[in-house]
């Protein structure tokens, strides 16, 4: 291992789902203690802490955690970056190590979202008073539902439909089949919020949220946390052979935002920033898509998974429909995608998501994924999108010690 390499030394995720008896600090503590134990280190070894939580970053969730696990006085960065919050926290800890400010650091992400419902879109009351233009559009009344939609299931539905308009081949059934795959994968994941197999008929017949996304085609709001201990190659060399063998190499860590595109003020463009990020990630890692053994990508909605096959260059440009129909992305296919069950079944506790997907890939690279193990996995990739937008990508490799 080269001195300037970055490694995951320890990593852990809680079960995703409903945790009514645990608050956010409890969940974060469980994940962090798990990651520290996994890495064979303690809070005293952490030179930096990055704390990701969309809902609690402004409340200093990082320092709240320290009050329970150890007030060591190290710098704490509380991070919020939409649905890329977890990946961003991870990257903050990595940047501190890359810069030489620390040789070991902690990143965690946590959220409590059970029963949260729609996370965007304005409610509307009866119009009353006197119409007065306000805001940057000079609106005299709320516009959600009057000028398009602001709800995420609807936004991401359009993102999938726009891909269909551009390249053809999409249908309600196609998108539902993507969801069928992820729900099928989830049956092997005991940490998933929902691990029930769902038939195509059940998925298509479920409650419609925003066509073509029915409820099981939407990411599941839930509670959960994940944490990782990151370490420099130089420091890792000073640890035991056992720790070195279980460490997972971070071959690429990239964060991008959305560059200006003609239609991005109308419909968020999740494509360009993902393409930009993955291009940088493949270059950093010195690999290409064909080297990947598994991918955990941001299926916040079934309609989103399709476009990211293309954006992550897992298939030829415009070829995502054929790629999916070939069976490639099922766990026994040539490019297993979301073998954890994805956000649609594993769940999407926003701050935790971008570290939990790293845990999933790392667990396969360590050959510790049990019944859902992708045999012989040596390289994997994680991807998240935070609308607004942010894209986080990590490429991970098995240790060769």
């Amino acid at each position: 291992m080269a001195s300037d390499d970055l490694w995951i030394l320890g990593i852990h995720m809680t079960k995703f789902g409903k945790h009514p008896d645990k608050d956010m600090v409890d969940l974060a503590s469980e994940a962090v203690l798990g990651a520290l134990t996994d890495g064979g280190v303690t809070m005293a070894d952490m030179g930096v802490i990055a704390a990701g939580s969309l809902m609690a970053a402004s409340a200093g969730i990082g320092q709240q955690l320290q009050k329970q696990l150890g007030q060591t006085g190290v710098p704490v960065y509380n991070v919020a970056n939409a649905c890329a919050t977890g990946a961003t926290a991870l990257r903050v800890a990595m940047m501190a190590i890359k810069s030489g400010e620390a040789d070991m650091g902690l990143a965690f992400g946590v959220e409590k979202l059970s029963g949260a419902g729609l996370l965007s879109g304005g409610s509307r009351k009866d119009d009353s008073g006197v119409f007065t233009p306000s805001g940057r559009h000079g609106a005299v009344a709320p516009v959600d539902g009057r000028i398009g939609t602001e709800i995420m299931p609807g936004v991401f539905a359009q993102i999938g439909m726009e891909y269909g308009h551009r390249y053809g081949g999409t249908s309600f059934e196609l998108f539902a089949r993507i969801s069928e795959k992820n729900h099928s994968h989830s049956t092997l994941n005991p940490l998933a919020a929902y691990s029930k197999k769902m038939s195509l008929e059940e998925i298509m017949g479920d409650v419609m949220i925003a066509y073509p996304n029915t409820r099981p085609m939407c990411s599941a709001n839930c509670d959960g946390a994940a944490a990782a201990v990151v370490i420099s190659g130089a420091k890792l060399r000073t640890l035991s052979l056992g720790q070195q063998r279980r460490a997972v190499k971070v071959s690429a860590s990239v964060l991008t935002s959305d560059p200006w595109e003609e239609s991005c003020q109308i419909l968020p463009d999740v494509n360009t920033l993902t393409r930009n990020a993955v291009t940088m990630a493949y270059e950093q890692a010195g690999i290409g898509p064909s080297d990947l053994d598994l991918v955990e990508l941001h299926d916040c909605f079934a309609t989103a998974e399709l476009v990211h096959y293309d954006n992550l260059m897992l298939c030829e440009q415009g070829g995502a429909v054929d790629f999916f129909n070939s069976g490639a992305t099922w766990r026994d296919g040539s490019m297993p995608v979301n073998v954890s069950g994805g956000l649609e079944s594993k769940g999407h506790p926003i701050g935790a998501t971008g570290i939990a997907n790293v845990w999933e890939v790392a667990t396969h690279l360590r050959d510790e994924a049990g019944p859902r193990q992708i045999e012989g996995a040596t390289v994997g990739m994680t991807h998240v999108i935070g609308l607004g937008s942010a894209c986080g990508i990590h490429i991970l490799e098995k240790a060769t010690v």
């Binding site: 008073g129 516009v143 419609m208």
Partner: protein, 134 residues
Amino acid sequence: MQMANQIPLVDYLVLGDEPHLVANECTSCQARYFDRRNACASCGLTEFHSVTIPTDGEVRAFTIVAFAAPGIPTPYVAAMVDCGGTSVRANLINVPADPDHVSLGMQVQLATELIGTDDEGTEAIGFGFEPKEG
């Protein structure tokens, strides 16, 4: 003709005999914005002028929202419409909100509709796109 007691739902909708949308176009790179911008997100310069957006367009993406925040009537069709190269966010109106009546690539035209009336009797007029006749 615009009635004296009407107001557009948003300031980029121009009412009158031929209702249409206007955008703020960057005088340098021609990027277009429906909202007020401090500077151009594409090139960073700060000069804009107003341009008229064609009222005919093509549906590039849509969704039929069946579940929305409290108070918002459903179902409704939300869409991205390509109006001569400028993308517009709008609802599709005067068409049943089901996938049998709405399709990708559908040709549409701007239409206005009454949003509500305030305490002084002023009508707020919104816009959407409806299937193009003929």
